[in-house]
């Protein structure tokens, strides 16, 4: 497979996963903020959305609507959901001869939906529809990647993009929500705040139901951290995604995972570390741990690009 096309596939995977997470985050944060009477919580929800998408926090947004448009629909903002879907499609187009027609059709059909979505409708009535349709369509596209493509290296590069992006998005969600919780606690908002925020954190990763099955208690910081970072059976935990990424690298890779400083070696070590890490080791300063994790994930991207995608 061409290195350039492998790059297309990898970024196709990343953009699909990114769009899905941004949409869910926007959806969950916006609608859970409506359930609270606390101005601070509502303000924080918007700020947290800005952070997730990586918009400049100091920019002046006159109205809430401006923020919501900037995050979802602004074509001028390369981090918006619309831009991500545009990039996803361009990458799929660049590899159109290798992916299945079913994947392409799902991608393209959805692109037309996003492309033609009326901004005015979105601002006043369409936020739920827009984000929810995005989430659903990302799921359809991924399902078709899974069920209509050869599970060969073409597929493996899409999967690597998906899992790396998911690990990054989950880490960013955790960082964002732990920051929110800290800020709310400093301002002495009442006690249910942390639990409420942790619940919305779990919802942002579609993990609330499975969290309940795993712990049978209301969301608490330590358990949520353990669930979202270390759980090996939850497909949106960091450990799970790193372990998946390792599998695809082994499928594609020609190198042994003992070759020092290779990506296979690096991810092997990280994966083993997360298997035997306990939540006690990270709960004292989760933000420091998560910050390091994010740095590590970005390094992985660089290693992967250098070893397989440079052309």
């Amino acid at each position: 497979m061409l290195a350039r096309v492998a790059d297309n596939l990898y970024w196709f995977g990343r953009y699909i996963e990114r769009s899905e997470h941004l949409s869910r985050y926007l959806n969950v944060q916006y609608f859970s903020a409506l359930d609270t009477t606390s101005d601070l919580q509502r303000e924080l929800a918007l700020k947290s959305i800005i952070n997730m998408v990586g918009l400049d926090e100091s920019s002046e947004y006159a109205f809430e609507e401006d923020i919501l448009v900037a995050v979802a629909m602004d074509e001028g903002n390369s981090a918006s959901i619309k831009s991500c879907m545009h990039f996803a499609r361009e990458n799929a187009r660049g590899a159109r001869d290798l992916i299945s027609t079913d994947v392409w059709n799902a991608m393209n059909k959805f692109y037309r939906f996003i492309h033609d979505y009326p901004e005015d409708f979105y601002k006043t009535k369409g936020l739920y529809d827009f984000t929810n349709t995005t989430i659903e369509n990302c799921a359809i596209i991924k399902y078709r990647v899974e069920s209509t493509m050869l599970h060969d290296e073409v597929w493996a590069f899409i999967k690597m993009g998906l899992h790396l992006e998911r690990a990054i998005q989950v880490t960013r969600i955790l960082i964002s929500k732990f920051n929110d919780i800290n800020e709310l606690e400093e301002s002495k908002e009442n006690h249910s705040v942390a639990s409420f925020q942790l619940g919305s954190l779990l919802k942002s990763a579609e993990g609330l139901d499975m969290y309940h099955r795993e712990y049978s208690i209301l969301p608490q910081e330590k358990q949520v951290l353990e669930f979202m970072v270390l759980n090996e059976r939850f497909p949106r935990s960091i450990a799970y995604n790193i372990s998946e990424l390792q599998q695809y690298l082994l499928q594609v890779g020609v190198r042994k995972n003992t070759e020092k400083n290779s990506i296979e070696w690096s991810i092997g070590r990280k994966s083993e570390f997360l298997k035997y890490c306990t939540v006690e080791e990270i709960e004292d300063d989760p933000l420091a741990f998560l910050g390091d994790t994010l740095t590590y994930l970005n390094q992985l991207n660089n290693l992967l690009s250098k070893e397989y995608l440079n052309y």
Binding site: M1, L2, R96, D97, W104, K109, F157, L309, Y311
Partner: protein, 485 residues
Amino acid sequence: MNGKILESYAVNDRLLDEVFDHGGVIKKPYERVFDHFNRYGAEDFKRVNEATKLSFLLQGITFATYADNPKGTERIFPFDLMPRIITSTEWARLEEGLIQRNVAINLFLKDIYNEKKILKDKVVPAELIFSSVNYNKYMVGFEPPGGVYNHISGTDLIKHSDDNFYVLEDNVRCPSGVSYVLSNRDALKKSLSVLFKQLKVGTVFDYPAALATCMHSVAPEGVDAARCAVLTPGIYNSAYYEHSFLAQSMGMELVEGRDLFVDHGFLYMKTIYGRKKLDVLYRRIDDEFLDPLVFNPDSMLGVPGLMDVYRQGNVSLINAPGTGASDDKAVYSYMPQIVKYYLDQDPILQNVHTYQCENPVEMDHVLQHIEELVVKPVDQSGGYGIFVGSAATKAECEEMRAKIKDDPREYVAQPIMSLSSHSTYIDETNQFEPRHVDLRAFTLLGKDYEFVLKGGLTRVALKRGSLIVNSSQGGGAKDTWVADV
């Protein structure tokens, strides 16, 4: 309003209508189609039509033209639900003619780049060939594997009021459109499955296999399992859909110039596991962009050193560079002589009479009768630069005259041929109306291999009265059925 959709159809008595005779009676091959369509009410038909159009958009079967399209908005190639029918008998003759003509073109190309016999014998004027911008000096003295130059030809034909097909133009550089034939057929089968079942229509889906066979047949000598690829300028090219479609349906890599490099006389592509040698390249970029070392130095599309590898016989290019020297509209007028010269046969397919402006007597005729003629630049494609005398103002005619006098080699003229018309569904009126059509037929030549795609692409001039069918000029398409009817 759910009346019948064909009841108010107006037949133009001066033109050949492929569906109705001059008395307005449906022609035999179309009887079943007519019966079928008359079962639709206007609203039902509209619904089927809209659904079909949408399916093209949703599948991304679109193109983008550079000229009117700075933002890269994608458009579908408008598709008409009424098929054009060519009877099997008529097609057999056409097919024979297409192979004859393209075999002759191949022999002509081989000759003008090697022995130049036809020029020495003064059958075709040598200066006509050597003055052509498409005559490629890097091809002189070189014969491609299998002796094939025009592996893929797109021959544009029209049907005249005498009920015969005439060749309007030969396209042997990078003729496009074949993917639309296959996607149109696919769409039509789905939308009109009941009708489709009733007629035995020749398949078009054997084209990718035929093209792959053709490519493998001309692999460099000594290569057993040739690695083949399709070379595209990239996703912003107007025909990118076609490039990716062909690569995918043949199971070949779709490469861009930046994916390729030359090393020690061989062509390689950059893969995740390092370099892989390429043997046959179906290039969909023009000659001048192929290799910045020998042609356009600013080109980012091609591969430095590619021509060198080609001349060493280590990669085959489809079509060969320099084929443009034979599809020039000035060379076209010599086609009957070319067929006769190489094959000693009378041409099966007729040319449209063509005036050479560089011949003073013919130029004089053109200048005097410009209102009755179509004037074409010899080296343009896509319908660009075409001047239709009857549709031009006095001032425009004057301007054209001046251009011809300025550069006679650049122009040819032909009588305005009345392209046949065909019933075509028009969105605005929700009715069928006559529209002019032509036919692009696709012929493949490999080493000991000949193939003609059954049917080809019928292009439709969607503007009322217009003769220009090119997609870049707002034309549409019809599915073309070769059938026993």
